[in-house]
Subunit: 481 residues, 2 copies
Amino acid sequence: MAQNGQKKMVEEITSMNEDFAKWYTDVVKKAELIDYSSVRGCMVIRPYGYAIWENIQKDLDARFKATGHENVYMPMFIPESLLQKEKDHVEGFAPEVAWVTHGGSEKLTERLCVRPTSETLFCDHYKNVIHSYRDLPKLYNQWCSVVRWEKTTRPFLRSVEFLWQEGHTMHETEEEAREETLQMLNIYADFCKESLAIPVLKGQKTKKEQFAGAEATYTIEAMMHDGVALQSGTSHYFGDGFARAFDITFTGRDNKLYYPHQTSWGVSTRLIGGIIMTHGDDNGLVLPPAIAPVQVVVIPIAQHKPGVLEKAGELYETLKAQGIRVKLDDTDNSPGWKFAEYEMKGVPLRLEIGPKDMEAGQCVLVRRDNREKITVRLEELSSAVPAALQAVHDGLYERALENRRNRTYTAHDFEEFTAIAKEHNGFIKAMWCGDEACEDKIKELTGVKSRCIPFEEEHISDRCVCCGKPATKMVYWGRQY
Amino acid sequence: MAQNGQKKMVEEITSMNEDFAKWYTDVVKKAELIDYSSVRGCMVIRPYGYAIWENIQKDLDARFKATGHENVYMPMFIPESLLQKEKDHVEGFAPEVAWVTHGGSEKLTERLCVRPTSETLFCDHYKNVIHSYRDLPKLYNQWCSVVRWEKTTRPFLRSVEFLWQEGHTMHETEEEAREETLQMLNIYADFCKESLAIPVLKGQKTKKEQFAGAEATYTIEAMMHDGVALQSGTSHYFGDGFARAFDITFTGRDNKLYYPHQTSWGVSTRLIGGIIMTHGDDNGLVLPPAIAPVQVVVIPIAQHKPGVLEKAGELYETLKAQGIRVKLDDTDNSPGWKFAEYEMKGVPLRLEIGPKDMEAGQCVLVRRDNREKITVRLEELSSAVPAALQAVHDGLYERALENRRNRTYTAHDFEEFTAIAKEHNGFIKAMWCGDEACEDKIKELTGVKSRCIPFEEEHISDRCVCCGKPATKMVYWGRQY
């Protein structure tokens, strides 16, 4: 029965290479991350999925607080008139919001939308609390859910409702606001590298791909296992556009009135989709240790033999006392079933302990990322486990970086671009003249969009890959989730 | 100017005894807990207010996890047909929900309500994941915001949108579910006592005051400074009513099909209103140390004198290293202004350090609750501060308990009941026959509602205070927020 269970489980996952999209939905379901709900495009985030989100929140929240940010909570509703205050913003979001028209049995005099993002709400509040340069900067963040009425949805990647954080800050000077915008982008990139083992490209979005109402949008772009890009976080510089629209002014050091300069930045549960598609394999989820709900699972071998369960319990306690998130599975299921189960769940490290190991005074660690077995003297367990977790992290990061290297192409002219786009998913590096018409044409003819103008520019040629006119900017292009 | 600031601040708070309601709104505004928003009944929770909520969350979440509960996230929308599945439940909530009727420019085929509570969503999910007794218990909780279309709103106490946690659990047996219901009520009561310094009555709600769809509702009732009750948390036992309505069944140990037994329980940002109205005074907020964003504020006296700022900084670092939430205010504002400011913000302990103190090798701690000054040798600071924080906590709890004692009355007959209800706010203990007609009559003639049938029963007489028929149950009655 346990063996059947194991077989069944492995059979039920589609292979990545066969059908990546189906593999993805298999993993989110079988690893018990989500359940579909009765509302189109809204998902139930189950305990194991939510525990990943909690670890992401805890880590990011500490980074935000260490850089002086404070959490707040804004209402979830935006009156229609408030949403309309900033012209570009409302144009971008109005087509995809959910409208509340009735409270109880009463029709509302003004429709309320469920926040798709909260710039307008923050500005409405900032107007009340910013009066002097002494009130600046305001460095606020909120953790909440937002709603966007997407037509096509996929768990974590694109859903009608999703969880996120949105930072909204106000500054005395443009320079300070621009610094904040980049600081937060760097925090996101560091977090992706250090905690999610995901390498990201940092860069600026083209005007066409900018956030509605922003003067500049910066992005971190990750590449998934299949070569498709995932926009994983964005940071926006708004100038004083919203401040003017909302009439937010402050008295400066020279006693004159000024508009403050604004930023916003966000990452969402989409990151969980990024983790799955960056690190997962045909056995299921593979979780980076920093955010794994369970970092080490202890599995007793031949647990009916005298002393095995006691020893397993002892090792569990040792690791737990060390602050490692460890689980002991002493159920009646077979070791084989357990191996498959925790591989599916992406637990970074498995610890096996059986009678032979005990005799030899050792145990076996098995890495989830490459299945490498490490035999460890029991007295060295306390240092071996953190080292092995670090090795898993490094291994995941390296493998993701290698995948990105292998799937990054360079195109010198349009013919080459088209051929690459037709044949491969991946990033295409190519020069761009800066004309939106070329961006549109590339999208139309190849289905590929601009990802970003990277901070680390390269010079590929002097000519735009599309129109052949002079070009100085290199752009990363690619299909996206 | 600083002195003016101080004067102005004190002037602007209404005295509690003059107008308690106005005092309350003054405090929530002046202590910078909330700002009003453009949406009726929705509030902006500002950094200081949100930091209190974060501390409440952290404390409660640890208590939930220690008792085996896991966090999840359910959609914020409930399709109308789903809300209607449990008859009593929909009757209770349908009149006060917000309805989403449009997504983008499209009219929805079925209206969605913004969750007022999530029993229906949890059941919809439980149906998919509960099949066998091995799948039980399910011990889930979620932190989120909910919406109830209240006519009259007050910050924290009753608002259209509020933050809360809602636990929803499923059990194999009635006994286990009933134990869970009481366990969570006890956790709430312990938390109120240990972390909020608020004494609460534990008891059962009468049938009339039960949650829509519940078989039994338990409550913790706190008494505010003005003698008015605040229902501060509830825990419900549902039996298998929802399970039957949603067709959730499991195969039992005997291989037969059963309906699981359900509970739910919740507390909300209303607790912050309870803290304000239990502990606050005419100088503003008074925060219990366990949830105060700042536990100790260090205020240098004559800070221009040599060494004062350095010494203040040193004490700040000492306390910080100890894990105490401490703030150093070395701004140019006068000490008097600072005293008023942190009294308004309810900081439990003020530490004053000036040249004379330094000479004497001491500093002065001032308790927020009773303004007691404690002179402390600097080398004893590390033990003196935690002791003083504990003393503030104990002092607050005792004072609240004393207030409840002073405002708890006993009524033997209806005449006496009416006279007390007319003259005083407070709890009235009186016998009740169990007939809802008597409850209705009392409410109608005196404006007072049943609070709870307390776990600690007393025998006051053999007769119902209203109809004079035989009665065995003592009920607490009182006006409520």
